[in-house]
Amino acid sequence: MRKAGLGLIAGLGAASGILSNPLFERVSASAWASSPKQPGRRWGMVIDTRRCPEGCTTCLDACRRSHNVPTFSDPRRQVEWIHKEDGRALLGTACATKQAIPALCNHCAEPSCVRACPTDSIFRRKDGIVAIDYHRCIGCRSCMLACPYGEVSFNWSDPRPAIKEPTPEYPTREQGVVEKCSFCSDRLKKGLEPSCSSQCPEGAMTFGDLNDPKSAVSRLLGSNETMRRKPELGTEPSVFYII
């Protein structure tokens, strides 16, 4: 009897735990507005998947071109700062669309890659960008293991010969170094928007300051229900999806 009672209590506890921790999260405007925030700027992005055309790779190409991202043919050695993946794989079963939607580094408020990095080469900047100091990276790939989104890539071989359209505007990386999306911090410094969002022909990607209630991203978050990737992990991504 005692055992059964305990089991019942445990079962109820587990069930309530599951119910209170749904596998997806809809970010409603009021919930987002009332959530605790760090002061200052926090760059973020809202991707409107309804306006993202199937088969279009403009954002991926723009990113590759502007940051000297190498193209390796071997899928296991691919280096990507942004890629397209089907919606259900990205956002879970709650996402009805199977259409391929862009996925990039989420620039989490609680980034697990930063915790995993033994040399402090990945760090979160004051403006919310999770950046890599490539000078310090020792290529241990702890961040790749830690990132629940798989958005960090490793250069297994010298990336320079694999860059298809090199640009002198941005440095390359070298063998044995990880790389990922930097929210175009180099372009932000010049007052430009990230290359993916600025070149999207449909205007599906909106970039801006999540902490500024007047910014375009905040207005979109206010007028739409959005989803984030794996919110149950508590990493607080800065990339939102309108389904």
Partner: protein, 126 residues
């Protein structure tokens, strides 16, 4: 009557003087940020030439840490009041007029820094 006219005249003169003063003030204020941004003066480096010859590696190491971590906020102020964005592009903004600037010394001293493994070397540019 006379007295009133002189008063008005004095007021006009004072206003003109104030306008002239403010106008010059505005001009100097406009000019200073341009000088501050450190884009122009390529005749003087951030430190004296002799210091840079012996210590540029320490300066660059410090700049790279700050540039990577602080991004747009990474600025350096020289003792004579000029401001520079900490960025390799700031160095190359002046020093790339000679594409052998880094290499002639490094080759002579047989030093092989790994800067150009990732950064685009001036020699790689067309």
């Amino acid at each position: 009557m006379m007295h009133k006219n002189t008063l008005i005249g004095l007021v006009i003169v004072a206003m003109l003087a104030a306008a002239a003063y403010l106008a010059t003030g505005a001009e100097t204020r406009d000019a200073s940020p341009a000088a501050d941004s450190g884009t122009a003066d390529s005749t003087v480096c951030i430190y004296p030439k002799e210091y840079m010859q012996t210590h540029h590696m320490q300066v660059l190491a410090d700049w790279k840490e700050h540039a990577a971590h602080e991004g747009p906020d990474a600025f350096m102020k020289t003792p004579d009041g000029r401001r520079f964005q900490k960025d390799l592009a700031t160095c190359l903004g002046c020093h790339d007029n000679n594409r052998f600037f880094c290499f002639s010394c490094h080759n002579y001293a047989n030093v092989k820094p790994n800067c150009w493994n990732c950064h685009i070397s001036p020699q790689d540019l067309p």
